[in-house]
């Protein structure tokens, strides 16, 4: 098996085996603790510019399929696993993970001590790294890692947002439809054709498709606009509400997006997820900061401060909203139980709310799906 190496900017080098595409790539090295859903994670555009290490050691077991995709392609710079499965075992499978990465041009490495890597990232914080299947000299690798561009200060949204508007109609897969919704909104009657659907513009900064599927499933006509759309362009669609999607990278580099949000807050019911949450906060005058190593996984506990209920959430963010910078009109509605960071905001005056985590799950628990119903109610 061909060798591959991963080097970090602090000089650490891990040697393993090449898997997926070959070549050299660089990016911010981060880790995800989700034990299922590698395909959804791979296709999450928010990983643009990152080399992701899965903490779950056996990846690829159930193969890949056309239904479990969250975007039109793989945006990740590199993929790190302890052991990639050569065989795909599931009735849904259409191929192996290795072939999938090869086809998508994502460079992977397998067989390294991923736990050691994760511990290093936890202790030292996120680092830039180089992953290569053809550069195997330690000194060369480290030099390349040190020279690779950092994630902070780059606009990665531009690289993943769609070119043109599109209408979204696909609803949730039956398998992904939450079976029980214990939380607020859980008692909502299922959207019936009689209830007039609401028109929602979803600003796509690298949106996971399951968000749009959720919106469609709660009775929204979704129009997806590229994230660079201006407030006027959005308003021209005369929507009942606007949705701000997730997306990659440093939110403070996205002045043009913030401007759009500023122009829409108070004018339309608004709901944001992840990057969308950060953009809402920035538009209201708050600041964001970079977390030491981010929240990436499917087991992050978040409390809904209004009800005291805890949701287990899917997360993928390296930046967070700085609580000290919050303007008076923003109220914290959700909080992370692990580190106390802000997980949800509500605008006291405008009809706007946002969460830092991923209620659309994919991959992850369905606990927070109620938020889509809540957004639907905001538009009543």
């Amino acid at each position: 098996m061909a060798r591959a190496a991963l080097a970090l900017e602090d000089g650490t080098v891990y040697f393993g085996e090449s898997f997926g595409a070959t070549g050299t790539t660089s990016g911010e090295v981060c880790f995800n603790t989700s034990m299922t859903g590698y395909q959804e994670i791979l296709t999450d555009p928010s990983y643009r510019g990152q080399i992701l290490c899965m903490t779950a050691p056996q990846i690829g077991n159930y193969g890949v399929n056309d239904a479990d995709v969250e975007s039109g392609g793989l945006q990740m710079a590199g993929y790190v696993v302890r052991e990639a499965s050569r065989l795909a075992s599931n009735f849904t499978s259409q191929g192996t993970l290795g072939e999938y990465l090869t086809k998508a041009g994502v460079i992977g490495i397998t067989g390294i001590d991923t736990r050691a890597l994760v511990r290093r990232l936890r202790i030292r914080g996120a680092m830039t790294g180089v992953l290569s299947s053809d550069m195997l000299d330690t000194a060369e690798l480290v030099a390349a890692a040190k020279a690779a561009p950092a994630l902070v200060g780059r606009d990665l949204v531009r690289e993943v947002m769609p070119d043109r508007p599109r209408a979204w109609t696909e609803v949730l897969d039956d398998l992904a439809r939450p079976l029980s919704q214990p939380f607020e909104g859980g008692d909502l009657p299922p959207p019936s054709p009689i209830t007039a659907p609401k028109n929602v513009v979803a600003l796509d900064y690298g949106m996971k498709w399951n968000i749009a599927r959720h919106l469609a499933s709660v009775g929204c006509n979704v129009t997806v606009l590229p994230g660079r759309a201006t407030a006027a362009e959005v308003l021209a669609y005369k929507p009942d509400g606007v949705f701000l999607s997730n997306g990659p990278g440093d939110p403070e580099m996205l002045g043009y997006c913030v401007e759009t949000v500023k122009g829409l807050v108070g004018k339309l019911p608004m709901f944001g997820i992840c990057l969308g949450h950060q953009l809402l906060a920035l538009a209201c005058g708050a600041k964001t900061f970079k977390l030491k190593f981010g929240h990436r996984g499917a087991n992050q506990p978040v409390m809904d401060l209004a009800t005291g209920k805890v949701e287990i959430t899917s997360q993928n963010h390296g930046f967070a909203v700085d609580e000290a910078s919050l303007p008076a009109e923003l109220e914290v509605t959700h909080r992370n139980l692990n580190d106390g960071t802000i997980e949800g905001l509500r605008h006291r005056l405008a009809n706007a709310a946002s969460v830092q985590y991923h209620p659309e799950a994919a991959a992850g628990p369905h606990d927070s799906a109620y938020l889509f119903a809540r957004f639907r109610q905001m538009m009543v």
Binding site: P57, N61, Y62, A67, G364
Partner: protein
């Protein structure tokens, strides 16, 4: 909303004796619950009949009742202790059923006791199959098609709808007892009838077969605010059709997509909510059709279960502790995650390793039993292993099983390439039907060239698992091709270690020795590294040192604290018959003792059910197989100042010589002494020197030698292999025919070790002594008189402290002999001696009691916890302190403990799981657990022990008598008279009846089985017989009497198989007439403060 303040006293119900389906895991959960509740300031009242538990240590609960687990006993405890609440969800099915009984009899209502954790209604919904199905239907979940039936006729109607094969599950039975799959109509009728009989409510579920579907378990927790989390998902390697307790299982689930997993998670929450388990843990089992993904709910346990214990050990999340806290009102997010200390218990563990559990079976003890694995659990223990990959964890688990294999083949048990190599037809047949050996045949199948797809077709085992096995065989082939140690490059060697291959396997493949492989790989820097089990995949720092080995680059074990000693305790591995919870109890006490002495304790064990593998029992925990290599690897890393091998049973003892040779500092009794006690010649010399008697004995390495020895020793003689525990392959031979049969078996089991032959002392009283020696002084902690005569394995017989029939002179003689032996051997720590006391007539014509030494074991015995409970002395702890250098005098222990009351230990057997097996007791141990009865009088203590063991001594009705020898018949006449006085009617077959009639005792004559109907079995079926006294003439399920005894199990009629036990039973029934059973807390029996065990 923190803890509830309206509750002050909480009653916790334990799970009783270890039985198949209910083992140490409930000691683990109960102990955690006691700690958790007391930490919150509640007064905890505990009832459990099992003395071999940590939870019944005097310091664990506030009030501890070692009393029979019946609702009547519990009512008495409730009357005395006035609890505000009862927590029934941590003591297995036993506790749940008892709580339901209390509820049914109005006891809870009468005394104002609230059921916390799960309410009666929720338990009913979870346990009653019909209500459960209806509830599932209501929330849109599928269950198996089928129906509850109350008769065979109804069952046949259901069968017409669902077709064969069909699954039969009786309601409300332990561990799915009586469950099975019927492939034909005959089998169907038989299994339904048996299920109806076994079910306490006379109900059986008949269901469509989901044979071959993928099987999963979800461990779920919920708090009073309806916050719910999944702690762990478990995927069964063996597909549906094998009880999950008998399956190889893997955590986390390996082959579900996120959508499939989340759907199962949603369904789990829907189930726990619909059933209404308010707080705590539940276990929900699912089946998934591999072709369509159709998912059905198999069942749920509205309580902490065996799988919860596994999930706790697999993730580091303390399910039982948290369940107890949730039951008193805490919410998940108000509780800390003990492992990280920074985060909360409200989260879902993420694990960055793979966990494999493998069950351990004991069919060698029940040769007549059907060893096919079905939906009824038959395994007696389990081992768990953690690795970074499935391959690694799988091989570690197979090694941890301690059945002579060191992984997936390539060891002395490997038949491949030998004359016994199975044929392809053989292999196909063996993998088609699950049995304990199927896993080895999967390898043979791959070796024989069957593809993953072909094996999947035959076994329905998921292709992913089969591919993993295939990869192991590929690595094996690669290594065998390389052929020598010198030729293997570093990368390949490391890769093999990472795939879980043991040095011993590598030695086989690379034509080398285990030690050479070890030396060479160490030279190349290929050494084990240890990673933490931290609940969070390294996202947060772990505070709890719970480790497993792998072969990567970073090691997480902490360095040695300067000036602080480290002592390593080797545990007992998976439970098996003869080695179980008693030894785990001793290992836990070692940790407690070391902690009290300020020494860092390091536990090594591979049994997920136990208290010893709880993350806060010791200062460090290594969840590792107990093999020489695995232990040495840990020692290389942590550099212990001492290693304790005498507490974990035979497992660590078997490693002692090799560990000593490798330079490990074994503390306590030396390895030489351990071996000397096993060495017949040296031991005989010692006894001669001390003037002690021993039955004539011999040792044989060959069949020829054995024949010579037995000619010298004479019959009856006892034949057994050396170095095995639990009387494996031990038999009493009365003649040459029997001898020839058993000696051959003994040589097989001995595996190259010699076979021992002893003169068997008939009608002798057997006595066990447990003592502690510090090299200078000896304390005899307990003299245990056995109820059954010598010849019944000491682990199977009932016994009593203090001796109830021995004279003071004999007891003094026994103590003196034990003391002399301990001092002469140089024992440091525990020693167990077995004596036989036999009435003998001397040359001068006077008769007296002769004391024979049967066996000496310089290690902890199975009876140590019972002795501790009976005497109030923490025997194991004292012994460990002695080993660590604190003399008995320094500990202030100067006299033997003298209990003021009588304690009886009774054994509990798994016969109900092995239909048709003869239950007559013999020299091969077959019991799985024990109970204890305590009273001021022997008769009442014995009565309690019987009730606790589930032997319901009748108050009226009919008793069947059948005795073998003339001598016994005479004794039986006396007993019969007393039974008549007690108002019982007697029934016997012609021979015994004649003896009784001649003695003027009225008796009903019943036909022998071969004499036609109605015979005794007909009477059993009709409920006309309440108790059977049947002492064996010959053993075996095919004999008439064997069939009677087997039938007694089937129809739930107690059957006593020895004369002394029959005598004790009569005494007990007489005692119960004069004195109502009362309860007493052990804290009142031993009012002086006893050291806290935690």
């Amino acid at each position: 909303m923190p803890r509830r303040d309206d509750l002050k006293t909480i009653l916790l119900i334990g799970s009783g004796p270890i039985v198949i389906g209910q083992a140490c895991e409930f000691d683990y959960s109960g102990t955690q619950a006691c700690k958790a509740l007391r930490e919150d300031g509640y007064r905890v009242v505990l009832v459990n009949s099992n003395p071999a538990t940590i939870m019944t240590d005097p310091g664990t609960a506030d009030r501890t009742y070692i009393e029979p687990l019946t609702w009547q006993t519990l009512e008495k405890v409730i009357e005395v202790e006035r609890p505000d609440a009862v927590l029934p969800t941590l003591g297995g099915q036993t506790a749940l059923n008892l709580a339901m009984e209390l509820e049914k009899h109005g006891v809870l209502k009468k005394h104002g006791v609230e059921m916390i954790g799960a309410k009666a209604e929720a338990i009913r919904r979870g346990e009653d199959r019909e209500i459960f199905k209806a509830t599932m239907l209501k929330i849109g979940l599928e269950t198996c098609r089928g129906q509850i039936v109350k008769s065979l006729i109804e069952a046949r109607e259901v069968l017409a709808e669902i077709g064969l094969p069909a699954v039969i599950r009786p309601s409300f039975t332990l561990g799915g007892s009586g469950s099975g799959i019927a492939y034909n109509r005959d089998e169907f009728d038989h299994k339904v009838q048996r299920g109806l009989d076994l079910s306490p409510v006379g109900q059986v579920l008949v269901e469509e077969s989901i044979l071959g579907w993928k099987e999963y378990e979800m461990e779920v927790m919920r708090d009073v605010d309806d916050n719910a989390v999944v702690i762990c998902s478990i995927e069964n390697f063996d597909p549906c059709g094998v009880h999950t307790g008998d399956s190889i299982t893997v955590a986390p689930a390996m082959t579900l997509t996120d959508k499939q997993y989340q759907r199962m998670r949603d369904a789990s929450f829907a189930v726990i909510r619909a059933i209404g388990v308010e707080t705590g843990g539940s276990n929900i089992q699912f089946a998934v059709d591999p072709l369509t993904g159709r998912m059905i709910v198999i069942e749920m346990n509205p309580r902490v279960s065996r799988s919860s214990a596994l999930a706790s050990k697999a993730t580091g999340f303390p399910i039982a502790k948290i369940a107890a806290k949730l039951a008193v009102g805490w919410r998940l997010h108000e509780l800390a995650n003990d492992i990280t200390r920074k985060t909360k218990a409200c989260f879902e563990p993420s694990i960055d390793y793979v966990v494999v559990k493998v069950p351990r079976f004991a069919f060698e003890k029940f040769p007549e039993a059907d060893n096919r694995l079905t939906t009824q659990m038959k395994s007696v223990g389990e081992t768990m292993a953690i690795g970074r990959t499935f391959k690694e964890a799988f091989q570690k688990a197979l090694r941890g099983l301690e059945v002579g294999s060191f992984g997936f083949g390539n060891d002395s048990k490997d038949l491949w390439g030998t004359a016994a190599e199975p044929s392809l037809d053989d292999i196909r047949a063996r993998i088609a039907t699950p049995d304990p050996d199927r896993v080895w045949y999967l390898r043979y199948a791959i070796k024989a060239g069957l593809s993953v797809d072909e094996i999947h077709e035959i076994t329905a085992i998921d292709r992913w698992f089969l591919d993993q096995l295939q990869q192991l065989v590929e690595i094996e082939s690669l290594l065998r091709t390389i052929g020598t140690l010198a030729a293997v490059d570093d990368g390949t060697l490391r890769m093999a270690k990472q795939a879980g291959f043991a040095d011993r396997q590598l030695a086989v493949m690379l034509d080398s020795t285990e030690l050479e492989v070890r030396a060479e790989r160490k030279r190349r820097g290929i050494i084990a590294t240890y990673k933490s089990v931290d609940t969070c995949a390294a996202e947060f720092e772990a505070q709890t040192p719970y480790f497993y080995s792998t072969w990567e680059h970073e090691d997480e074990t902490p360095p040695k604290e300067p000036g602080r000693k480290r002592v390593m305790i080797l545990g007992g591995g998976p439970n098996r018959i003869g080695q179980g919870i008693e030894f785990d109890y001793c290992c836990c006490h070692a940790s407690f003792a070391l902690r009290e002495m300020g020494i860092e304790s390091v536990m090594v064990n591979s049994n997920p059910e136990t208290v010893s593998t709880d993350y806060d029992t010791s200062d460090m925990l290594f969840f590792e197989p107990l093999t020489c290599e695995d232990v040495l690897n840990i020692a290389d890393r942590i550099e212990p100042d001492g290693v304790i091998v005498q507490l974990g049973g035979q497992t660590p003892l078997n490693l002692a010589r090799a560990l000593h040779a490798a330079g490990l500092p074994i503390i306590g009794t030396s390895v030489d002494t351990i071996e000397m006690a096993e060495d017949r010649e040296q031991f005989r010399e010692l006894l001669d020197r001390l003037g002690l008697k021993q039955p004539a004995s011999g040792i044989a390495r060959t069949l020829e030698q054995a024949r010579r020895e037995v000619a010298r020793i004479g019959f009856p003689s006892l034949v057994r292999p050396s170095f095995v525990l639990g009387g494996r392959a031990m038999e009493i031979c009365y003649d040459h025919v029997q001898f020839e049969r058993y000696v051959a078996e003994a040589f097989i089991v001995a595996q190259g070790q010699p076979v021992l032959i002893d003169r068997f002392l008939e009608d002798a009283i057997e006595v066990d002594v447990d003592c502690i020696c510090d090299g200078k002084d000896v304390i005899v902690a307990g003299v245990l008189e056995h109820i059954e005569e010598a010849g019944v394995h000491s682990g199977d017989s009932a016994c009593c402290i203090p001796p109830h029939s021995l004279s003071p002179e004999v007891i003094t003689g026994i103590k003196a002999a034990a003391t002399g032996l301990a001092k002469s051997l140089g024992v440091i720590g525990l020693m167990n001696v077995q004596f036989a006391v036999k009435k003998e007539t001397g040359v001068d014509g006077t008769s007296g009691q002769a004391i024979y030494v049967i066996e000496v074991n310089p290690r902890a015995s199975r009876t140590v916890p019972f002795v501790a409970k009976a005497t109030g002395m923490p025997v194991a702890k004292v012994a460990v302190k002695v080993m660590a250098g604190l003399s008995l005098a320094e500990q202030g222990i100067t006299a033997d403990p003298l209990p003021a009351h009588v304690s009886v230990k009774e054994s509990v057997f798994p016969f109900v799981k092995f239909a048709g097996v003869d239950i007559a007791l013999g020299p091969e141990m077959r019991s799985t657990g024990e109970v204890m009865g305590v009273s001021d009088r022997f008769s009442i203590a014995f009565a309690k022990s019987q009730i606790a063991a589930g032997i319901l001594l009748p108050e009226q009705g009919r008793i069947f008598l059948s005795v073998a020898s003339t001598q016994a018949k005479e004794a039986m006449v006396g007993l019969a008279r007393r039974l008549v006085t007690l108002g019982f009617e007697l029934i016997a077959t012609s021979g015994t009846a004649r003896t009784l009639t001649e003695a003027g005792i009225a008796v009903e004559v019943v036909k022998k089985l071969q004499e036609g109907h109605p015979n005794l079995i007909d009477h059993l079926i009709d409920g006309r017989v309440q108790l059977i006294f049947n002492t064996p003439r010959g053993k075996g399920a095919r004999t008439d009497e064997g069939r009677i005894r087997a039938a007694s199990v089937l129809y739930g009629v107690p059957c006593i198989t020895t004369l002394p036990a029959a005598e004790a039973c009569v005494l007990a029934m007489e005692g119960m007439r004069t004195e109502p059973l009362s309860v007493q807390a052990i804290q009142d029996r031993f009012p002086e403060p006893v050291a806290h065990s935690g």
